[in-house]
């Protein structure tokens, strides 16, 4: 019995040693699960072929840096990548996913949406990026996924530095904290791309009536090095220098109380009734990325809480408190809505203090579905103005009950 026991013990030890030894060293004898896992992972993963500017530091990641791009000359950047199957089994590209709505992608000749690559087979992937929507550095990518749509096979990345068609002396003007009635101003310089020599000169406009844009003059800057040069050289230098515009950006005297939420943008003058040429459209799109943000705050005797109203899906009314307007003064206060579907009325709350009034906003049941943007303007007896932005999503109305 003792011998049998010892025999069983030896067998058990031997089995354990074999299994442990096999795992400890490189050996073809490995667990079945590990084999299938490896085999599967070996079958996935494509190689992004290096070349033509494409750098592939990792087999499945290819990067292409196209450098500076003038959006006016090249509104769309198109580059080709090549994917190759270096595995021993076929690989199916199930989908190509761009990382931005600005990027479109074409697989092969463009007639297929999926492709199975045999071992060693290559396929071209064309990435097209609409760069007119950007300025400055951009990083866009297209990712190839397997047939299951979720397993990543390769990543193709494109970097570029989009040159602005216009150079601004600043992208933000901060008026700071001001009292109602103050009229500060700031200078703003704009340098246009030489392309605008043959195009209508864009004008700077403000999104808010409270921010006034005044052109000062249009002059050409003569480079200092040529100022002492002979007259004809200086004239030539002035003619070749990019056109520059100067503006004064000021706050209107009766600017509304509250945060300043405005932007300055460049627009091309349009001839009434005339369609934009393709080039004008291109410029117009490129200019949309050129903006100056206006920040600051105007304070006065009246104030709003909250300073913006967003209706929820189930909300039909919202209340705002206006401090500085007593209930007795409500009749002298002018309230107007920029959208007839947004109604207002004064209400009285028990919790309201003596110097505060409450305005109720409501949505007309007949408001058409979609996004609703409006402004409520409250003008106090002494001229102080409050602007209340209103935002809402109006859902489709419930279907009418079926006729019996």
């Amino acid at each position: 019995m003792k011998n049998k026991f010892l025999q069983w013990r030896r067998v058990a030890l031997a089995c354990t040693l074999v299994a442990g030894g096999a795992l400890a060293v490189d050996s073809p004898v490995i667990a079945a699960e590990t084999v299938s896992y490896l085999a599967q992972s070996e079958a996935l993963g494509l190689t992004v072929v290096a070349g033509n500017g494409v750098v592939s530091e990792q087999p499945s990641v290819g990067k292409l840096d196209v450098g500076a791009v003038d959006a006016l000359s090249t509104p769309k950047v198109e580059k080709d990548f090549v994917l190759r199957n270096d595995r021993q089994a076929p690989i199916t590209i199930g989908r190509l996913q761009p990382t931005c709505g600005c990027t479109s992608v074409l697989l092969g000749e463009g007639t297929e949406t999926t492709k199975t690559l045999a071992p060693g087979e290559e396929v071209k992937v064309r990435m097209s990026v609409d760069v007119s929507r950007f300025h400055g550095p951009i990083h866009k990518a297209v990712r190839a996924y397997a047939a299951d749509g979720a397993t990543l096979l390769a990543s193709m990345e494109l970097d570029a530095n989009i040159q602005d068609p216009v150079t601004l002396s600043t992208r933000q003007i901060d008026f700071g904290r001001l009292k109602f009635g103050d009229e500060p101003s700031f200078p703003l310089d704009i340098t246009l791309s030489p392309r605008f020599a043959t195009l209508p000169t864009p004008q700077l406009v403000s999104s808010s009536k409270d921010i006034i844009v005044t052109p000062i003059e249009v002059k050409t800057t003569i480079p200092a090095a040529t100022q002492d040069a002979p007259k004809q050289d200086a004239t030539a230098a002035a003619a070749s220098a990019p056109p520059m515009q100067h503006y004064r950006v000021s706050l209107a005297k009766n600017a509304a109380i509250g945060p300043l939420n405005a932007t300055l943008s460049l627009v091309q003058p349009q001839k009434s009734g005339a369609l934009q040429t393709p080039e004008e459209l291109l410029v117009s799109n490129a200019l949309q990325t050129t903006m100056v943000a206006i920040v600051g705050e105007v304070v006065g005797k009246v104030s709003l809480t909250p300073r913006m109203v967003v209706f929820g899906k189930t909300q039909n009314t919202q209340e705002v408190s206006i401090k500085g307007i007593a209930p007795a003064q409500q009749k002298k206060v002018k309230v107007s809505s920029s959208n007839s579907f947004v109604k207002t009325r004064w209400i009285t709350l028990k919790t309201t203090s003596a110097d505060t009034s409450t305005l109720e906003l409501s949505l007309d049941p007949k408001t058409p579905p979609g996004a609703l943007e409006a402004q409520i303007t409250v003008t106090a007896p002494d001229g102080e103005r409050l602007i209340l932005p209103v935002l809402a999503e109006i859902s489709d109305p419930a279907p009418a009950p079926a006729a019996k």
Partner: protein, 223 residues
């Protein structure tokens, strides 16, 4: 006598059994130590191995850690206990419009809760820290209300399936993904910015009102 022999056998067996058990335990421990190492070696080193979107409405939001504009690491877990909007931006025109609209809502006091506090918004930008800061300045995203995070290699973007921008997610105080703006299968870049932010505000409010019940989250299927 018989009992004596049995006792003797039992004692011998017990000793052998103890020895066998000890040796087996040692070998088992050895195996447990070796197996995980082999399993790790079996995984391919290629970083483009499986990346699946795991952000599903109604499920736990994938946790991530990214660096903010100052280089400090911030984790989603740091904001547990409050409802948090998470935006993914790439810097295109629509992202600008959306970010600007959101910053206006924040400064308008619309997102203040009952305690008059505004939950921070996590803004994840497809670029490095400098580009993220530039984007924030241009869109007036105030650092008082926003935590600016850089996802230059877009790893978190992939996990959330947020490649097509702008994307917004609302995560409730329990860390469950409550809402995302592709709930109706619409491409986010086809929706006007005011609509994107209005829906996000509405979702944030409802997330604050929902308490500890994951089945009360937005049950729209996530594609």
């Amino acid at each position: 006598m018989l009992s004596g022999r049995l006792i003797k056998l039992f004692v011998m067996s017990s000793k052998n059994l103890t020895l066998l058990l000890r040796q087996s335990a040692f070998l088992l421990a050895f195996l447990l130590a070796v197996l995980p190492l082999r399993a790790d070696e079996a995984k391919p080193q290629n970083d483009t191995h499986e990346t699946k979107t795991t952000a599903v409405v109604g499920k736990a939001a994938p946790v991530f850690t990214l660096k903010d504009a100052d280089g400090k690491e911030k984790s989603l877990a740091d904001y547990r206990g409050q409802s948090v909007p998470v935006y993914f931006f790439c810097g295109c025109r629509l992202c600008h419009k959306c970010a600007r609209a959101w910053s206006e809502i924040q400064r308008g006091g619309t997102l203040e809760n009952k305690d008059k506090k505004t939950s921070p918004t996590l803004v994840i930008f497809h670029g490095d820290a400098t580009e993220a800061r530039t984007f924030a300045e241009e869109t007036q995203l105030d650092t008082k209300y926003n935590v600016l995070l850089s996802d230059a290699d877009e790893k978190v973007t992939q996990v959330y399936g947020a490649e097509l921008c702008p994307r917004v997610f609302v995560i409730n105080r329990e860390g469950t993904l409550f809402y995302t703006n592709d709930e109706q299968g619409e491409d986010s870049y086809k929706i006007p910015a005011p609509l994107i932010v209005a829906r996000a505000v509405d979702a944030l409010r409802r997330a604050d009102e929902t308490k500890n019940d994951s089945h009360k989250t937005d049950s729209q299927p996530n594609k």
